[in-house]
Structure formats: C-alpha cells, structure tokens
C-alpha cells in the first residue's frame, strides 16, 4: 500500500469523506466533484442486482432471529410453545404480560437494577479508556527499551479468561474490605478491558501521520501536550467507538458483578435480574424474551446516538498499511 500520509484535513473535517452525494454545502469545488463521482459509483454499485441482493439477504438473515424473539416476547406463554412465531399474523394474540412480569414481577423494583447498571457502566467505560489511551500513546509515540515486548505481552493477556481471576481478586477485595461494593466492579472491569483497549487504540494512535507529531515536537511540545492537543482530538471517533463496545460488554456482563458485587440488590445490575427471569428451575423462560429486549434497549440507544462517530474515521489512519 501507499505510504502517503493522509491529508490532515480529512481528520479535522471528517465530514468530507462522509458527506456522500456531495450534498454537504461549503465544500470546495474540486472535492465536490470527486464526492459526486463516488456517489455515482456507489449508486451504480448498489443498483447492481447482485450487490443489493446479497446486502438484503445478509440483513434479513441477521435480523430474523431477533425479530422472531421480539414477536415471541409479546405472545402468551401457551402460544409460544404451541406454534411458531411466524403464525402470528394468522393468530394475533398479543399480551404484555411477559413484559409486566419481567418489569414488575420482582420484590425489588426494576429501577433499582437499572440505576445499578448505569452506575456500574459509566466509570467502567471512562476509566479503562483513559488508562488505555495513555498507554497506547506511549506504545505508539515514545521510544523506550522493551516497548515491543511489553506491548506484545499486554496484547497476549487478552486471552486470560476472566474466570481464572475471580478467586485471587475476590480474596484481595475481601482483605481490603471492599467486597460487595461498586469499587470492585469498576476496578475489575477496568483491568479486564485494558489489553483489548490498548491493542485497539494503539492501532489508531500509530496511524496518525508522524508529520503531525513531528511538527508539534518542533514547536517544543512535550508528550503530555502532544497527547492532549494533537492526538486526542484526532482520536475522538476511535474513542467513541471503543466506548460503545466497552459499554456493551460491561452492560451485558453478569459474571463480574455476580462475583465481586454479589447479587445483593444494592449493587446488582440488570443482567442479574434478567438471569433470574428463567426461574429457579429454568421453568419461566418465556419471560426471558421480554427480559432480553428490555436489557437491549439502552445499548441500542447508545449505539444509535453514537453511530455517527463510528462512521467518521475510526482507524482513520490505517491507510498507511
């Protein structure tokens, strides 16, 4: 691949690449025409029946299982077991009972679990990303002895299953008198996220054109300054994207919170409640479909509202190959 550094403005004004169709006002004429050409090319590509056919098939394949569950979550228990969800149009029995039970069928209000989930998730997203950004910067832009070995070691630690860490960590938390508090959950999630976060963010960091960093150095900026003033703004999209994935993982986590926070209602997140819906002997699983959808709502909102960050240049610099 080419080694041409990316024109800096495509970082600073990512809209340029994304405006598609050249409808965005205020772009230079040369650019506009190019964007137009691409839009035409893109339109041509999708009008190819093969391409659009494959896209639609994939979209349908990927959506149908979830859709089936959605329909199921509104059907009465007996119906779920008696006939397939696709018979719904011919036999439209709708009930909100599953949702009512999932939401209110507990001695602890759903709101409590919801608040716990939020309280657990936010710090567990902010802390590891900040730490990982700093580390990734050092791995990408500061020369030091043993850097590569350390980086590979960090990256390899992704494979440590969280399960093996439970007993050693819980023992320490008990010693420190922290067991059963939010602190343990935040700390644990942060630690577990770091290898992947550093690995991904390092990739973005490294691909920022060296000329930008060099220029800042020439101006006498130290590492802290370069990190905050040059790199962070460029990496906003990457950070937002990783934040979403970290958000998803923490939001959907059951194991870490069960072990370190215990299931006590003071700290238990939504997933603990959803897991309970199956009942002591797994006999209540018709409620799980409703529970699954309730717990999906927030991640979806987060995804939709942050999706524009995804689109703009996550991995922006990777063109250097």
């Amino acid at each position: 691949m080419t080694t041409t550094p990316l024109p800096p403005q495509s970082f600073v004004t990512p809209e340029a690449g994304e405006a598609g169709g050249g409808k965005a006002p205020g772009l230079g004429g040369r650019k506009l025409s190019r964007a137009e050409k691409r839009a035409i090319a893109a339109a041509g590509r999708l009008s190819s029946p093969w391409a659009s056919g494959i896209a639609i098939i994939l979209a349908v394949l990927w959506t149908i299982p979830t859709f089936g569950l959605l329909v199921t979550s509104f059907r009465p228990q007996q119906e779920i077991r008696g006939s397939g969800w696709w018979t719904f149009p011919t036999n439209p029995a709708v009930t909100l009972e599953n949702y009512t039970q999932a939401l209110f069928g507990s001695s602890t209000g759903f709101a409590t679990y919801f608040v716990n989930s939020v309280v657990i998730t936010l710090p567990a997203v902010v802390i590891p990303i900040s730490l990982a950004l700093l580390a990734a910067y050092a791995f990408a832009w500061i020369e030091f002895r043993g850097r590569d070995i350390l980086f590979v070691a960090v990256f390899a630690l992704q494979v440590v299953p969280i399960q093996v860490t439970l007993i050693p960590l819980l023992s320490r938390y008990v010693d420190w008198g922290l067991a059963g508090s939010f602190w343990t959950v935040w700390l644990s999630h942060s630690m577990f996220a770091l290898p992947l976060a550093i690995f991904l963010l390092h990739n973005f960091m490294k691909d920022v054109p060296p000329s930008l960093v060099e220029a800042a150095r020439m101006d006498g900026a130290g590492h802290v300054k370069i990190f905050f003033q040059v790199l962070l703004p460029l990496l906003t999209p990457a950070i937002a994207s990783f934040a979403i994935f970290q958000f998803l993982w923490v939001w959907n986590d059951l194991l870490v919170s069960l072990t370190f926070a215990g299931g006590s209602t003071d700290v238990a997140p939504l997933t603990v409640r959803v897991a309970e819906l199956a009942g002591s002997r797994g006999s209540q699983w018709h409620l799980l479909s409703a529970g699954a959808f309730i717990s999906m709502v927030v991640p979806l909102i987060v995804f939709l509202s942050l999706q524009r960050f995804f689109v703009r240049g996550l991995l922006a610099g990777s063109v250097k190959g």
Partner: protein
C-alpha cells in the same frame, strides 16, 4: 463515610459514581501535570506516567491471576498439593479430548474468518447508500444482546418438533425444511454438524463488531487512491480486491485477532445451548466445568493454560504484522 462503600439510595449511588470518576481524573491529572511541569524530566519518568497506571492494573488484574493459574495447573483439585504434570495428562487423556480440541480449532478458525468476511462484505455493500445507518444497525443488533440472550434466540431457531399430525414446528429453520418438504432435523444433536450451528451463533454476534470497525476503515480510504484506481479501470470486485482490502489490512488484522481471542474464551453459547453434550464441547467450556461445576481447580487451571498456549500462533502472527508496519514506517 459509609456510603463510599455501601451506597444504598439512588442519589448516593450516582454521587458515588461521580466521585469515582472525579477521583480518577484528579489522580491522572496530577500525574500528567507533574510530568509536564518539571523541566527536562528523564524519559523513563514520562513512560512510567503514561504506561504505569495501565501496567499496574494489568499486573494486578491479569498477570497475577494468570501466573497463579499456571501454578495451580501443577497442583491438585484444591490447589494444596503439587501433582506435577498429572492435570495435563488428565486433560489430554480425557475421553473425547481430541473432539474438544478439534471443536476449539474449528471455532477459532471459522468464527474470526467468517464473521470478518461477512462484516467486510456487508460494510462495502452498504457503504454510502441511502439506508446505510439503518442497514448497519440491523447487523449491529446482535452485538447488543448478551451471549445468553443470543443462546435463547438461536435455541428458538433450531427448535425441533417431529413432523407428525397435531404437532406444529416452533423452530424457524425446521419450519423452512418442512415447507420445502424435507424431514425436520435435530440441528443441535446431529454430529458433527451441530458444531457449525453453534459456530453460526457466534458469527452472528461478531459480524456486527467486524462490520462496524471495517466500515469506519473503509471510510478513511483517501479519495485520491480510489480516484486513481478508477482511472486505471478498476470496478466492483476488482476495486474490492486490489484497493479496499489492501487499504484496510491493518484493521482486518485487528478485527480477526480480536474476534479470535474472544472466541477462544467463549463458552456461554455452548453452555446454554448444548451444555457441551453431543460432541460440541470446547476447551473453554471444559475449563468452566472443571473449575466451577466439578470444583477440580487443578484440572481447570490446566485447561486454562492450554487456552494460553493456543493463542501463541495469534501472537506470532501479530508480532509479524507489527514488524511489517514498523518497517514501512
């Protein structure tokens, strides 16, 4: 100050959350400002300030437990007496361990490649179309579902009922077969194909991750490259093969590696859908069983170490990629 550890009310919890974030920001700010203020700080101080906190967290949260696991793998079921290599012998001579290993390899090869392939193709196809946002959301959807939730959804899809009077199919896949005039199948039971039906679930989940990351990478391909290629007469598949894929190569490596790592560790799908029966178990599931169901810590640890070993090829591959990109730079 009791609420710092035992926050009970919603207000206390939210305040505690802000305190935690604030505290963290404060500590980091002090470290970084300290480094920045002092003139002519030695290089290593800067490195420690940047890398130190993350490394300390990793050392405590992952290295220490990882080393303990390696130690435990040479000890007995309560990790009190050393037993040498017995656990590894037990793991490898375990009934059907070859099958478990074979399944794990199937998972770790198929899931990253297929999920990345689907994600890539989809990202290219919907790129810059009018429905792009919506189309991407559809494929992203499975990411938002927990593994256990995904297990439920797919158990529904694979559900089997016999083809007889008075019995209706409730699994979509079997209903399709019946409509086509084929006998319904027990997808989760029939070896060895049941493995592929489980793997499909993981691909279904991970394709959203691949699609999201790769889509962004595609957007970042500079226009002039595409322009030049077009002038050279590249279109469609040619453009995909000679321009798109090489341009996002580093992103592809990252995605494949990340998914492969995740796949090695995953057992929730196997656990909720077949419980590891019918020849579908994977190393991670065996590890979970031994450690948490049968309480044989030694054997469980040995299986975890086997997972560590399985990841070595991935590490080697990534180190080579890293070297490659360093050379280019």
């Amino acid at each position: 100050m009791d609420w710092l550890v035992n926050a009970d009310t919603t207000a206390e919890k939210l305040v505690l959350m802000l305190v935690a974030i604030g505290l963290f920001v404060l500590v980091m700010a002090v470290i970084l400002l300290g480094v920045d203020r002092v003139k002519r700080v030695p290089q290593w101080v800067v490195v420690v300030a940047f890398v130190g906190p993350a490394m300390a967290a990793i050392a405590f949260g992952l290295v220490y437990p990882g080393l303990r696991t390696i130690r435990d793998s040479f000890y007995d079921r309560t990790s009190s007496n050393p037993v040498g290599l017995d656990n590894y012998v037990a793991a490898f001579t375990q009934d059907a361990f070859q099958v478990v290993l074979r399944n794990t390899l199937l998972w770790v090869v198929l899931v990253p490649l297929l999920a990345t392939f689907v994600g890539l193709v989809y990202a290219v196809l919907v790129d810059r179309t009018r429905f792009e946002q919506f189309a991407k959301t559809l494929v992203f959807l499975p990411m938002a579902i927990s593994m256990v939730g995904a297990g439920i959804i797919w158990k529904f899809v694979y559900e089997y009922r016999p083809d007889q009077q008075g019995v209706a199919q409730i699994g979509l896949l079997n209903q399709l077969l019946v409509w086509l005039g084929i006998e319904p199948q027990q997808f989760l039971l029939n070896q060895p194909f049941n493995n592929f039906f489980l793997i499909a679930v993981m691909i279904w989940i991970q394709a959203g991750f691949a699609m999201t990351v790769l889509s962004a990478a595609i957007k970042a391909i500079p226009d002039d490259i595409i322009e030049a290629a077009r002038l050279d007469g590249l279109h469609g598949v040619g453009m995909f093969r000679y321009i798109t894929v090489p341009s996002i190569r580093p992103a592809l490596v990252v995605v494949v590696t990340t998914i492969a790592m995740g796949t090695l560790k995953v057992f929730d799908i196997v656990r909720t859908m077949t419980g590891g029966n019918f020849g579908t178990s994977v190393v991670a599931n065996e590890f979970y069983n031994q450690s948490f169901r049968i309480s044989n810590l030694g054997l469980g640890a040995a299986l975890a170490v086997i997972l560590f070993v399985l990841v070595i090829p991935l590490i080697v591959y990534n180190v080579r990629q890293l070297r490659l990109s360093e050379d280019i730079r």
